[in-house]
């Protein structure tokens, strides 16, 4: 963050006593520009602010205010994406669209089409979110470009101060934090004031290095804080880039695997998955722990088996695989008890048709599913057993005749049990569907590394707020003139009162 140099900051008045000539911070400067008089020109004259537009733009762009704006902008959008229901899939299909629309809060219904056209229902992958991320990325990169060389220069200056001081004795140093400039006149010899100032700074806990011949000195405290600042911005750049690339290039696939069926991934034709086995720990009707075995290959047998615990993501083949959910399913068959004929069942789900075997989910609302037997005008309701002493995995099966709402009969059964009702033998067996999320692209690793940088940098900066001082003295009429330039990230340090008394 290059800030105005000392020349821009120092306000000079006629020295009349042994008091500070000027003390002006960057924030004060804005309100006091009219009385600002630059000190004498150095060897490398700095262009005036009015004409140096690129420098002004660069200064604004690398200002921490841009960090704040980008963070708040990003927060606003992320918050909005939590409030407005986001659609995780494409809404082009009418049935999918109507199902999604029905879940919307009614007050949003008149606005849905407009908001959808603006991309408000897919904020996480829209330009709305990518724009502040891009701003944060470019800003953080610019800050790194400015800050890293300065931090490196300051680190080297600790061991070789003479080199830094000799290289630019008159130039105003670049600032990474809050710059302060102070010019004072002292009624004493320059050598004496310089030595005394450095001694005072050492007593205050600063590490000091000086060149008595050139009367230029350095003093610093918590030097690592400058690297913490760099780490913060490198981390922000990586985080923004990782999130940007993740939302742009990364693809997430949410697959529903069924036993004995091949599941293909749209866009990844080489990925064919077979659900081989599901082992549940605890109640099979409410799986909270379990392990899923999936086989990867064209045929049902052969291929590499992959073991995936529920809710424990794994990196496989450059993709992040997570078993998000295991849904208990009931498979029902019906046979005529007399002649053994298989009867067709019709489940109450969209697009279903009559089949000899019905698969019903127990994860729907009220944990119950319905299936009908058109040949006998009977409807079956399967639900979890609600009796207090029912053992885990037990089901309740109720029979309804026609459109009656009271059940004709009820039975409790376990996996594989058979029930005879009205001349029909029903068999229910339990199985599980698996919801698998596959995240393609490893940009999230970049984002995670970025977060590590942000955490290390931000965390270190809370305790390690650095201060950097450059002290110069030179002979002036009747005494000497001392300039102190401070770059600090500590809100209350160094105290202004202390700076005013240095060298006195």
């Amino acid at each position: 963050m290059p800030a105005p140099g000392l020349r821009d900051l120092v306000k000079e008045t006629i020295p009349s006593s042994n008091r500070p000539l000027a003390l002006l911070s960057a924030t004060e400067r804005r309100t006091d520009v009219s009385s600002e008089v630059s000190i004498e020109e150095g060897r490398s004259a700095r262009p005036t602010r009015a004409t140096d537009w690129p420098a002004l733009v660069w200064r604004v762009w690398t200002s921490p205010h841009v960090t704040m704006v980008a963070l708040l902008w990003l927060s606003g959008l992320i918050g909005l994406s939590q409030i407005i229901p986001q659609s995780p899939y494409s809404l082009d299909e009418p049935l999918v669209y109507s199902q999604w629309f029905a879940k919307m809060p009614p007050f949003l219904w008149p606005l849905v089409d407009d908001l959808r056209a603006l991309g408000f229902f897919q904020l996480r992958t829209s330009a709305w979110l990518r724009l502040p991320l891009a701003v944060l990325l470019l800003h953080a990169l610019a800050v790194c470009t400015s800050a890293l060389p300065v931090a490196w220069q300051r680190t080297r200056a600790r061991s070789e101060p003479a080199r830094l001081l000799a290289r630019s004795p008159d130039e105003t140093p670049p600032a990474l934090g809050r710059p302060l400039g102070l010019a004072v006149w002292r009624a004493a010899a320059a050598e004496h004031v310089f030595a005394h100032t450095m001694q005072q700074l050492a007593q205050d806990g600063y590490t000091v290095r000086g060149d008595p011949r050139a009367q230029v000195g350095l003093a610093w405290r918590r030097h690592l804080g400058w690297w913490a600042l760099c780490s913060l911005y490198v981390g922000l750049a990586l985080l923004a880039m990782g999130l940007l690339l993740h939302s742009w290039l990364g693809r997430a696939y949410v697959l529903r695997l069924q036993p004995g069926q091949a599941t293909t991934v749209p866009g990844l034709p080489e990925l064919v998955l077979w659900l081989e086995d599901t082992r549940i720990v605890g109640d099979p009707l409410a799986p909270s722990e379990g392990v899923v075995q999936v086989r990867h290959g064209e045929a049902e047998s052969g291929g590499a088996p992959i073991t995936l615990p529920l809710h424990a993501g794994r990196m496989i083949g450059g993709m992040w695989w997570t078993v998000v959910d295991i849904t208990p399913m009931v498979e029902v068959t019906a046979q005529d008890a007399q002649d053994g004929e298989t009867l067709e069942l019709w489940s109450f789900v969209p697009r279903a048709h009559a089949r000899p075997r019905a698969r019903l989910s127990l994860a729907d609302e009220e944990d119950a599913s319905f299936v009908s037997l058109p040949a006998r005008n009977v409807t079956l309701r399967f639900g979890r057993a609600s009796e207090p002493h029912a053992s885990p995995g037990q089901l309740t099966l109720s029979f309804f005749r026609g459109v009656e709402t009271a059940p004709m009969g009820t039975a409790t059964l376990s996996d594989g049990d058979e029930v005879l009702f009205d001349g029909v033998r029903y068999q229910a067996s339990l199985s599980h569907d698996v919801q698998l999320r596959v995240q393609q692209g490893a940009w999230w690793i970049m984002a995670a590394l970025g977060w590590l940088g942000v955490a290390l940098g931000g965390g270190s900066l809370t305790w390690c707020r650095p201060i950097w001082l450059v002290v110069r003295t030179e002979d002036a009429a009747g005494g000497c003139r001392m300039t102190i330039w401070v770059d600090t990230l500590a809100p209350h340090s160094p105290p202004l009162e202390r700076l005013r008394t240095l060298g006195g």
């Binding site: 704040m68 939590q82 909270s288 722990e289 424990a312 999230w444 942000v454 600090t488 209350h492």
Partner: protein, 258 residues
């Protein structure tokens, strides 16, 4: 008797939190004063000890009557709050008084309050799912409680500063503001990292309610800290607004997410 256990926790817990809030306010006011006032401190000590007794009795009765299973927040947060306050009252006399020391008290108030509020809202059922994610939940919870506790201290300091008196030390208020924001930044950093890690491990995505609210709270506190660092001014309206908004978000996180 078992049916009345939740009522017991609710009644005792509410009384405890109210007493502690008053005592906490008195401690913060005292930390900001140039000289301590014996009357206020005596009242604060009395309320703290009374709260410790009632809070311990309420929680112990609840645990004894309903174990197991317990909603995990109601099971683990109150004893942490009680332990933190016991330490605070023990150390209060021995350690030199720092403006930031009431933060521990703030964390205890938040911990007990969160346990009650989330239990009342039906959140925090018994922990299930991948046991590998439980430590991440614990880290998120503790770090978020610390962040919210320090921000509560910040808010209390702000309330007290609204009525400036000659006894109030401006420098102590600034130290309190600066110190609480630093701790809150650490807390939200850690909580966000744990929440995001857990969400990625368990669901393969980080767009979850707790991660989102923690990210916004972190961004607010980070922005406030940057503002402090760059302007050198620690108690400005901008910083107040961001800190209080972060506190509200952390509260919402506790209520909304399990």
């Amino acid at each position: 008797m078992t049916a009345q256990a939740p009522l017991m926790l609710q009644a005792c817990g509410t009384a405890t939190v109210l007493m502690w809030l008053v005592a906490f306010g008195l401690y913060v006011a005292d930390a900001l004063r140039v000289e301590e006032t014996a009357g206020h401190l005596q009242m604060a000590r009395l309320l703290t000890r009374l709260g410790l007794l009632i809070g311990t009795a309420g929680w112990a009765g609840y645990v004894a009557l309903t174990w197991p299973p317990l909603p995990w927040r109601a099971a683990w947060l109150p004893p942490l709050a009680l332990a933190a306050l016991a330490i605070y009252t023990l150390l209060a006399r021995r350690v030199s008084k720092s403006p930031v020391s009431p933060c521990l008290y703030g964390c205890a108030v938040v911990a007990y309050g969160v346990a009650l509020a989330s239990w009342g809202a039906g959140n925090g059922e018994a922990l299930t799912g991948n046991p590998r994610a439980w430590p991440l939940i614990a880290i998120r919870e503790l770090a978020a409680v610390v962040a919210a506790g320090t921000l509560l201290t910040y808010g209390a300091g702000l309330l007290i500063r609204l009525r400036p008196t000659p006894a109030l030390a401006a420098s102590r208020a600034e130290q309190l503001g600066d110190g609480t924001l630093r701790i809150a930044l650490w807390g939200t950093l850690l909580a966000l990292a744990a929440a995001a890690g857990r969400a990625w491990l368990v669901w393969g995505e980080v767009a979850r309610a707790d991660v989102v609210t923690l990210f916004i709270a972190w961004a607010f506190i980070m922005a406030a800290s940057l503002w402090q660092m760059m302007t050198g001014m620690s108690m400005t309206r901008m910083v107040h607004g961001l800190a209080l908004a972060a506190l509200v978000l952390l509260g919402a996180m506790f209520l909304v997410t399990a």
